[in-house]
Amino acid sequence: MTSTVPVAAPELEEIEGTSLWRDAWRRLKKNRMAVAAAAVLGGIVLFCVAGPLFVPYSFDEQNLEYGARGPSAEHWFGTDLHGRDLLVRTMYGGRISLAVGLAATLVSLTIGVAYGAIAGYFGGRVDAIMMRVVDVLYTLPFMFVVILFLVLFGRSIVLLFVALGAVSWLTMARIVRGQVLSLKQSEFVDAARAAGVRDLAIVFRHLVPNALGPIVVYATLTVPRVMLEEAFLSYLGLGVQPPMASWGLLVSDGANNMMLHPHLLIFPGLLLTLTLFSLNFLGDGLRDALDPRMRT
């Protein structure tokens, strides 16, 4: 319905502009599950980053005679087949898993935002072609190509997160494009264009910052996905190489020996699952807080 009575529009917009993030913050704080997820996540990060300082073992210190044993007072998580302390290996594994998750998300963020923003801003044929490419890429068996890539070109960590980031930008591109498409109708874009601001500057200085809400939400949800993919590749022996550890690699070791030594599977598996769960919960909470209308 439209009102016959004109309203004081500029005033209204200013109020909305400043209170969007504050409102979101308030809504997020009220979502107890999301707050709990954030706390758990903080605990896990602290555990992985600072934990090794308090454990008197190193991640590759072997004690072959000791071998794999269950949890004890000396080794809270037990030891693996080489007699290495599982607690400290889980911490180190977490560092790598989290680092890969963040780095690959940054790669996917960069590609996805740039691609989506450009497609959305220029629209028309450019948009149609760029989005058709995304549609096609969606249908392809990406992981297979990544695996082939890693096998053929060597299994380095840098290659790993570039490869993972390079295949997980598609949804981000779609989301950013949608946002930019609707935002570019706004008056502030007309104003910027009238003032002679160049296209690319409009895209990255005016449109992208205004689409930040959904970008943050989706980036938060990308981290667990990429971590999962890293773990997946490490599980197959294609990711992080021993004696380094990542959660995926530890779970793989655990699964191979689960009959005799279930603790090798349970501890890293639990921690990985808990991290992914918290990240997903936090992402959902952020989405509800920042944009209640946006749903997956």
């Binding site: 297979f144 096998v151 779970v251 699952t273």
Partner: protein, 342 residues
């Protein structure tokens, strides 16, 4: 509608060509040859192998590096190539083009050639053996995913913000968060080794396929549940649902006739990309449960540098995915008249 389908079918071929070209280039530029890992063979044997797989093309050698034809030892060849790098490169590109054409021709005829690793078996044999298994596994997983996901999603939507909703959504989030390579071993630990309900591995009877199917399907069940709930809640907010209620329709008709179709559109659109994810997931699930499917062949092939087999698996998957997406688009068109009459 028919024109739409035909156009989409024609659209598949250029995509396949791109995938083919990409994996071919990947294979050509990868450092190291496919036979490096094996024990050293006499140069003549190696040369014959390379000729058989068209990694050498006599015509190209004669045209760009005629001196190469008399050379027998790898060291001599390396020295010769270093001496004339440009001719060497031209010879490689020429050979590559020949190999590309040759392989493409074979692929079009459905012949994927011999395996690099198991020289007495053709790639087609592997695919014929592995593909049905993987498809069965995938079908089972999709059945689980839709069965569990749709029910959970509908229940959650109907009881929005009440405990069945919260329960279903936490379960769904857990389903998304538990990696299948954690879930699979845990299921084996509990149901096969603990309770002895299901056999832990192999692929023989229905009881063998249950756990792998569940493991592979759980993530998708979770996504389907979330999409169903979201889709239904989105639709019941629409004006036309208010119209249906204002017409005095019983709630059953409002939901089943007016809401369900639109509410399920996101689920149907998701099934396309989900197929790709299913193939990926099957790599790990087949490994955990020792299922002789394409996923396992692929990883083994990749690690063994059995590139003809790996490439064929990628191509076959691509074909399946593109066809699955086409089917999804057609179903979307049937469900949504706005798409049909675009």
């Amino acid at each position: 509608m028919i024109r739409f389908v035909l156009r989409r079918i024609l659209g598949i071929f250029p995509i396949l060509l791109v995938v083919f070209t990409f994996s071919f280039v990947l294979m050509r530029v990868a450092p190291g040859g496919p036979f490096d890992a094996e024990k050293p063979v006499p140069p003549e044997v190696k040369r014959n192998l390379e000729l058989r797989y068209r990694m050498r093309e006599p015509w190209c050698e004669a045209r760009f590096l005629p001196a190469l034809q008399g050379v027998r030892s790898p060291d001599e060849e390396r020295a010769l190539r270093r001496a004339s790098p440009w001719a060497s490169r031209a010879e490689r590109v020429c050979t590559g083009l020949f190999q590309y054409g040759w392989m493409l021709g074979n692929y079009v005829r459905g012949d994927f050639g011999p395996s690099y690793k198991y020289k007495d078996r053709s790639v087609n044999e592997f695919i014929r053996a592995g593909m049905p298994v993987t498809l069965q596994l995938g079908l089972l997983a999709v059945t689980f995913a839709l069965g569990i996901g749709l029910v959970a999603g509908l229940v959650a939507a109907v009881y929005q913000n009440r405990w069945p909703d919260h329960l279903a959504m936490i379960a769904a989030l857990l389903g998304i968060s538990v990696p299948n390579f954690v879930l699979g071993p845990v299921l084996i630990l509990v149901f096969s080794l603990g309770l002895l309900w299901f056999p832990p591995a192999r692929w023989e009877s229905l009881s063998h396929v249950f756990l792998p199917g569940l493991t592979l399907g759980s993530v998708y069940a979770a996504y389907v549940a979330r999409l169903t709930r979201g889709g239904m809640l989105e639709v019941v907010r629409q004006d036309f649902i208010r119209t249906a209620r204002a017409k005095g329709l019983p709630e059953r008709l409002v939901i089943l006739r007016h809401a369900l179709r639109g509410g399920l559109l996101p689920v149907v659109s998701y099934l396309g990309p989900a197929m790709a994810a299913l193939f990926t997931g099957s790599i790990v699930v087949e490994r955990i449960f020792n299922v002789p499917g394409m996923g396992r062949y692929f990883v083994d092939a990749a690690i063994n540098r059995d590139i003809t087999l790996a490439m064929a698996v990628v191509m076959v998957n691509a074909v399946f995915l593109l066809v699955a997406n086409l089917v999804v688009d057609v179903v979307l068109g049937i469900l949504d008249p706005r798409v049909r009459y675009e």
